[in-house]
Amino acid sequence: MKAAREFYRKVVPASWLNPRAGFTAAVLAMLALVPLYAAATGDPFALTLFTRVLILALAAVSLNLIMGYGGMVSFGHAAYLGIGGYAVGILWKEGFASGFLQWPAAIAISALFALVVGLLSLRTRGVYFIMITLAFAQMVYYVAQGLDRYGGDDGLTIGQRSSFAGIVDIGNNTLFYYLCFALLLGSVYLVSRLVNSRFGMVIQGCRSNERRMRAIGFATFRYRLVCFVIAGALCGLAGALLAEHTNFISPAIMYWTRSGDLMVMVILGGLGSLFGPVIGAVTYLLLEEALSRVTEYSGLVIGPALLLVAIYLRGGIEGLFAGGRHDR
């Protein structure tokens, strides 16, 4: 027995024993196996449900980039979900079904919107920033409501998924799932490269003390703006995916409570940790789905649970495995 433990310790480096990494790996492996599970049990709904989870996780990852690392608490992040989705929907409605056009458009328009919002709002701090981002999101919400040609408040049904010139057929649900999964992992990788670069150091420096960073000589505003735009673009991509997934887009996805949901996912999972938002999204959405099957009063459980997380679990679920308070 002792020999076995010795052997184990020699073979497996210490970092692998880290329970936090193990937990993350387990969640990722579970996500990777969902299509197999769905195929094996003949329950394609698992695939539908988890595709949604992956897409919202991608949105949460993008929010975490600005909120967790940059300290920019955006209360209007759902706006980009809508903008990305409407880019796909409107282009489809106007007869442009190519994904090579739709997806870049979704990303570009979201980035552009983020640029405008960022330019106008990054001067404000704290709650003022929270509220001004909310204000812009509400404006987009009402604009979408007024788009009569594209369904207004009823939303727009998108007849088919984007075509990629025969290279990939995202109409295949399993393929689409793995595409979303790859994009999620890719965006986590992008975020990890970003935050560990010089750029990321400046961004994180701004979170704790922007004045100091400026004194050192960094053009902090520009750094933060770029970060804000990247997050917007990523979330726009998530919006495009969501529209593809449900074949539908409506203003409801941009209502302010949806921005709140995204914030909850990030904080629940672990603010400013790479995989925290993924874990938060998985937990929050599955909890919601599971509770809705048991009781109609799910709020009586989720509500106090969120309060307890806020009070006792400072680093979110990820922080639980980090063995103490997570950096933030």
């Binding site: 106008l120 404000t124 709650v127 509220m131 009402y142 989720i302 509500g303 009070i311």
Partner: protein, 305 residues
């Protein structure tokens, strides 16, 4: 002209209602540095309590008084149980925790009172409009709201600026360690302030109940408006909240009153019909964005924060 006066009154009345909600929110925010999303839940509780007590006692005024006491008590209990551990934490923790409280209260109210909502009926003499100046009719109850809120605003001003409690509140807002060092029971002070904020929220809820609605989730939409008000006014400033409430109320109402006709002058009727509500809905958010771009800390920034 008379029509303009009538619409301005409508705007002032909406502003007054917003002020009642915003005053409590900005007090709690300014003094405890707490982002309380559950303020809308207290507003909802106030309305439900009032409807229940008015049914039981058969009197609108008695029901309202009992509801005020009940909401303040509920607020203080909430503070002790759930809010206290959140002081001194990041705003994000506040958002997460109080967002959870919203979910909880919505379900709790549904469990206790059912999903259908309630009615707080006015005495029949309030169900009329009076002629305030020749040619301008105005609902009596809305006049009552304006007058009562002005009285509350004055009272609040006196409490904060002229009493010992108000002195402590102001001192606590600018330097809480110092107040604690002077031997003041900060915990009790915070509980009392939270109770006062809850009572104001409950008062807003019960005053609006006869014209708007008593139902689950009623606090959420107006909560955002209240946040807009306190952000425009400058967080922690009651004066700012008052001015901003009036501005928001007037802009919202006048936008709804005149935008459709203005747009109709330039656009087709159908286009104007759809565009006008979208534009007027956006107007207050555009106002807030504009104010923050020019003055990043609102119109009346608190002096030392």
């Amino acid at each position: 002209m008379l029509y303009l006066i009538e619409q301005c009154l409508n705007g002032v009345q909406l502003g007054m209602l917003l002020f009642l909600l915003a005053a409590g929110l900005t007090l709690i925010f300014g003094i405890m540095d707490l982002v309380n999303l559950a303020h809308g839940s207290l507003y909802m509780l106030g309305a439900y309590f009032a409807a229940t007590f008015a049914d039981l006692t058969g009197s609108f005024v008695l029901g309202a008084l009992l509801a005020l006491i009940a909401t303040a008590a509920a607020g203080m209990a909430l503070e002790v149980i759930a809010i206290r551990p959140l002081y001194g934490r990041s705003h994000l923790d506040h958002v997460l925790g109080t967002f959870g409280l919203i979910l909880f209260f919505n379900e709790l109210v549904r469990l206790i009172w059912g999903p259908a909502g309630m009615t707080l009926s006015l005495p029949s003499e309030m169900l009329r409009a009076v002629q305030i100046i020749p040619g301008v009719y105005y609902p009596i109850y809305r006049l009552v709201i304006i007058l009562v809120t002005l009285a509350v605003a004055a009272l609040l001003y006196i409490v904060v600026m002229r009493t010992r409690l108000g002195m402590l509140i102001r001192a606590g807002a600018s330097n809480r360690e110092m107040v604690g060092a002077l031997g003041i029971n900060i915990k009790l002070l915070y509980t009392l302030v939270f109770g006062l904020g809850a009572a104001l929220a409950g008062f807003a809820g019960l005053m609006q109940a006869p014209i708007l609605t008593v139902q689950i989730g009623m606090g959420e939409n107006i909560l955002i408006l209240a946040f807009v008000v306190i952000v425009i006014g400058g967080i922690g400033s009651i004066r700012g909240a008052f001015v901003a409430s009036l501005i928001v109320g007037l802009i919202d109402t006048l936008g709804r009153a005149f935008l459709p006709d203005l747009l109709r002058a330039v656009l087709s009727t159908d286009a104007a019909l759809t565009l006008a509500p979208a534009l007027s809905s956006m107007s207050i958010y555009m106002l807030m964005a504009a104010v923050l771009v020019i003055r990043p800390e609102g119109l009346f920034p608190a002096a030392s924060r």
